[in-house]
Symmetry: C2
Subunit: 682 residues, 2 copies
């Protein structure tokens, strides 16, 4: 018996794996060839599809050829010399790659590793009917990185301020409720299945801010983590854990967590042994140390490399990895102090440590120097540590981008980051440089649509696929998501209208959000604490290092080397030069790098203040237009899904107008410059 | 056996009733004459003092004269014709008044009501040794109003946002913890004793925002209220309850709470019967209706008089009173809408209802038109309902005045309100007009010092005494508080140094706080939500109706009749005329009534913006000076108390600097006008 495909509870949206997406596969004859638990998963998937749609599946666990003919062969191969001749260097497929080809009316997926076969299966699902049409020469698919990870900022116990899920906008946690594992294992497995289908292979199951209850997951509550790992494992996902650097003190009763103390190292070694005895394929730790109040090696006068390497040493014998977050800055800054620049902090802390991190340590770096704003320059840290395994961290959960009340498809933003070339146009892209992989803070929770806003599913899907292939065109990935999530109906014209509508509301949604919020990369301007909705001065006099310095004459942060904080000089020369000058600095990053008068003329030909007015009016108009387009798709979208998104469009338009009016009023009051077009500014 | 004086748990500050304050009484021979439970209380107090200090007390419950001579006679008299001849119209003393005189080496307190005798006792305690010196002609003391009330915004169950005590800055509730009465009855009784000693005679024991758990106090949890009443009763305090207008629906299962429905009126009548069968001297209800989301009569198209009178009718047979709060305004205002003025709301709602309220209904009106800001004009509602029993509500809990981290003695502010003459200089003062009495939101909690900051005790004491005698000079009341709280030590010079220090840090503290916070009555500028610390634009674009309209040219709210919201015209002519003109409007209220350019010259000769800079520098200097003065009193103040206040002075100075710098930076950035004196503005 193959393992069963997880059955979703009633009312839970199937996201990008609706049954209909399996019709092409489920109507064919398939041979599954190979042994192992993930091959069983593949077999189970095919069997389930065939059970539904009338096809057939044969499992052949020997290497012998079958006499029958199949529409599809899913084949776990052992790389023999003979095969190497036929298939090319099959070893190149690695554990996760696969080859796809079609000849003589048979499509063949070949993999060496079991996970490769699983990803090959979902590739066939993505191709749909096209998987079974025409001849296809052999294509090899391999992930760019072996680490494609989701971090869940889920608390085990409800935090009095941050709730069950910190920065979560999709209901409760999939894993935890009220202090313990919630035990909805079928849903956890279904989540793993969705993630496998877009290429994610690692999940960290608890918040990087590790509170009391969460600390114990490492030791006496590891069984609960093991139970989650058991559900994710059939879909090729390794489970990771956020731990507190102070664990030897908090849990172990030691008097110190100094990484140079033998007793501390022994405590970690023992703790890790305990973890692996419960979870043999445990992925490793995620650590937020010396950051926003979390403990870290600075307490003991040690470097971040010292701290990370201690954990790496404990994990190494078992093949585990430590993800060490680079989000270290002074969060108790004095707003009066203009010499301190939070944007500089990660580079200043970590660039000098290049080469000092262990092989199984990954430095996890936020994509921008600040904190997941709608527009930031790419972090200079990403190009500054060539001898370190660096991972890029993005935020699928929309903390600063509309909190899943607003449509804001982040594919294009992430793609820009991954395509950025830190050493200049001739150098490699971030997506090539970052051997540590791609990490997203998950946007999923126990919401019936997984992500609150049904269209926010596109962010999760796009993230997984970009992690697999960082140079993919995100628009192609969105089309994949559309085709899977809304499988073609019998009327192709109707389907094309739906797809066109989805593209219309998603493609430009990031830039729309940018237009009606903080202008020209100046950032923040949000309500303090929860970060939803406008608060132009919300963080202006705070200790968080996030200022716009608007006065009656101008706005922006001077981060030039010549007259500002020097942040611009953290980049390699081509970029440093570009950003240094107010003349060459790209419009969209201008206020991140320079303080300019309201009358400064952008490359667009507009003054800064007129740009602010214009974009804010445009942003609202675009949100209103998206709402209109979505309303016009009512006949093509499942009613519950359509209604949910329609409700959120109401809120998006309301909130966008609030942004427009507050930002425009703020700058009219401050600058005194009237709108050229005489529109209403309050 | 007389009832025992409550014994404070270890570590709880005795506030203004330290044992030493009873020495003069406790060393004398006293006759207590009369019968009744409050006479027992008086007897118990005297016996306790004598037990400590060696005096003696005789209880004579008959009307017969005693042959002995006494230093003090505390006498509950029956007003006979003969006595009326001797003592004047003894009936005039009422239930709460008393007469004090001293002749032939005997001081005599005479009262008709038992509460009068209790207040007479505390009068003797306040007089200290002076009570037993020289001859004193008969003085009659009567409270100006029969209602001198504290409202506790205490939640029974911890509210997820507002906590155990809404706007509480003194620890937990004295009455409730974790969903039920906390059962520390000795402490409750000690609280009642402190209140009696300053003249408070009514306490409402739960928050005016009535949530689920609190609603049930009215019915199935009335026993818990009764238990509190039992402890407060010996000190002459009647217990009141905040109720939800929706109680017939929420608790009674009716489909409506319409005051015109017979079933609703019957439900309330029955509920009130239940209350009085548990608490025979129950004071009545406090109701926040149609306010900030609370339900009210508007739901049913009825007026506030209709709503209040329904409850009044239910309470009337038992002598109960309904306190109906006038804090009704649109808290979902659109900040873009400049025609709506929250300051107008209470007058607009309630002035037309004058004469419509039942005799046992009290309209409870906040002292200013907004919400307990450090400076507001006196509410025009206080003079607008001559045929209504109006109570003035003040806020002893320092929501907007430093939250008991800052010293801000509010006596002078409250006194200004009570001395204000709504009809002009020839008319009566607010303190004479408001037959409904004086109400304060309590600043007390389970903190060891009762009020968080030990010096905030002065606010509670001053409130009670002002409620008794609204035309008292608050500085005299402060001296009473000083003499009681810090009883004279053996070294008179040291005591005078202490008293002078306390006056120095308290007398000007309100104006100091005003100086470093929102200028010229413009109000707010606080952090949203918790209301502590500066947030100049914190409420500028909010739905709460609290705006300053600062732009690059000027600041303030035009509330004139000629060009503004018309609020100024809600006053009687002399005030309306004064406030209407930017020329005659007092400086300290200027920005409440007018929008003026930063260069507008005040009566003080300074421009508005220079006034802002100057007062903010001065305010910080004054806070620093107060901290220095307090530090110099270390040898004269009990160490725990001194340390607590010293710690809070650190926070006050830190926070005052934050206010100074944020406000000054904000206005420098906006106005571009440099400080005349060239001081540092960031």
């Amino acid at each position: 018996m193959p393992p069963t495909v997880p059955v979703l509870p009633d009312g839970i949206d199937p996201a990008w794996l609706p049954p209909e997406a399996f019709r092409p596969l489920g109507t064919r004859r398939t041979l599954v060839h190979g042994t192992g638990p993930l091959v069983d998963t593949v077999h189970g998937e095919v069997a389930y599809a065939c059970g539904r749609f009338g096809g057939a599946v044969v499992r052949n666990s020997s290497d012998e050829e079958s006499g029958d003919s199949y529409d599809l062969v899913l084949r776990l191969a052992r790389p023999t010399a003979a095969e190497a001749g036929v298939l090319g260097n099959i070893g190149d497929l690695g554990d996760e790659g696969f080859a796809y080809e079609r000849a003589d009316a048979t499509a063949t997926v070949t993999a060496v590793g079991q996970r490769g076969l699983l990803y090959g299966l979902f590739h066939v699902v993505r191709l749909g009917e096209n998987a079974f049409r025409g001849a296809r020469v052999r294509q090899v698919h391999r992930p760019a990185s072996a680490l494609r990870m989701l971090d869940h900022w889920d608390n085990v116990a409800v935090h009095p301020v941050m709730g069950q899920v910190e920065r979560g906008y999709a209901g409760g946690s999939l894993f935890w409720r009220d202090g313990k594992a919630r035990g909805e294992w079928e849903r956890v497995r279904a989540y793993g299945r969705l993630l496998a289908a877009c290429g994610v292979n690692a999940v960290s199951v608890n918040n990087v801010n590790v509170h009391e209850a969460e600390a114990h997951l490492l030791t006496d509550r590891i069984d609960q983590v093991a139970r989650i790992a058991e559900e994710l494992r059939p879909y090729g996902i390794r489970t990771h854990l956020s731990v507190t650097f102070a664990a030897p003190v908090v849990l172990g009763g030691l008097s110190t967590a100094d990484p140079f103390e033998g007793a501390v190292r022994e405590w970690w070694a023992e703790a890790v042994r305990g973890v692996y005895s419960a979870i043999w394929d445990f992925g490793g730790f995620v650590v937020k140390a010396d950051s926003e109040g979390q403990p870290g090696p600075f307490t003991y006068g040690r470097s971040h490399a010292d701290g990370a390497n201690m954990l790496a040493a404990a994990l190494a014998p078992f093949g585990g990895t430590v993800h060490w977050r680079a989000f270290v800055y002074n969060h108790r800054q004095d707003w009066r102090d203009r010499s301190t620049d939070r944007a500089r902090a990660a580079y200043d802390h970590f660039a000098p440590l290049d080469g000092e991190f262990a092989d199984n340590a990954v430095l996890q770096v936020k994509h921008g120097p600040m904190d997941f704003q709608v527009r930031e320059p790419v972090s200079p840290v990403l190009g500054a540590l060539p001898r370190t395994r660096v991972a890029v961290e993005v935020q699928a959960t929309q903390e600063y981008t509309g909190q899943q009340q607003h449509v804001c498809w982040l594919g294009p933003m992430w793609s820009e980051v991954l395509r950025f070339r830190p050493d200049g146009e001739q150098g490699p892209a971030v997506g090539e440089l970052t051997r540590g992989g791609l990490v997203a803070v998950s946007n999923a929770g126990d919401d019936p649509f997984w992500t609150g806003h049904p269209l926010a599913q596109a962010n999760l899907y796009t993230f997984g696929r970009l992690a697999w292939q960082p140079d993919a065109d995100p628009h192609d990935l969105l089309d994949e998501w559309i085709a899977l999530t809304f499988p073609p109906v019998s009327d192709p014209a109707a389907h094309e209208r739906l797809a066109a509508g989805l593209r219309a509301v998603l493609h430009g949604s990031w830039r729309t959000y940018e237009k009606y919020t903080a202008p020209l990369a100046v950032g923040f301007m949000v309500q303090p604490g929860h970060h939803y909705g406008p608060g132009v001065d919300g963080y202006e006099y705070s200790p968080w290092g996030t200022y716009h310095f608007a006065d009656r004459d101008g706005i922006g942060v001077d981060r030039s080397a010549a007259t500002g904080t020097g942040y611009a000089a953290q980049y390699a020369k081509p970029w440093a030069k570009l950003y240094e000058s107010v003349v060459s600095c790209p419009d969209e990053l201008l206020l991140f790098f320079h303080h300019v008068p309201y009358g400064h003329v952008l490359k667009s030909g507009k003054t800064v203040v007129q740009h602010i007015y214009d974009t804010h009016f445009e942003g609202v108009e675009e949100a209103e237009e998206a709402r209109r387009v979505w309303a016009g798709l009512a006949d093509l979208v499942e009613p519950a899904r359509h209604t949910r998104a329609a409700e959120r469009y109401e809120e998006q338009v309301r909130c966008a107008r609030e942004w427009r009016d507050q930002v425009n009023s703020y700058f009219l009051r401050k600058s005194g410059v009237p709108d050229e077009r005489g529109r209403t500014i309050h």
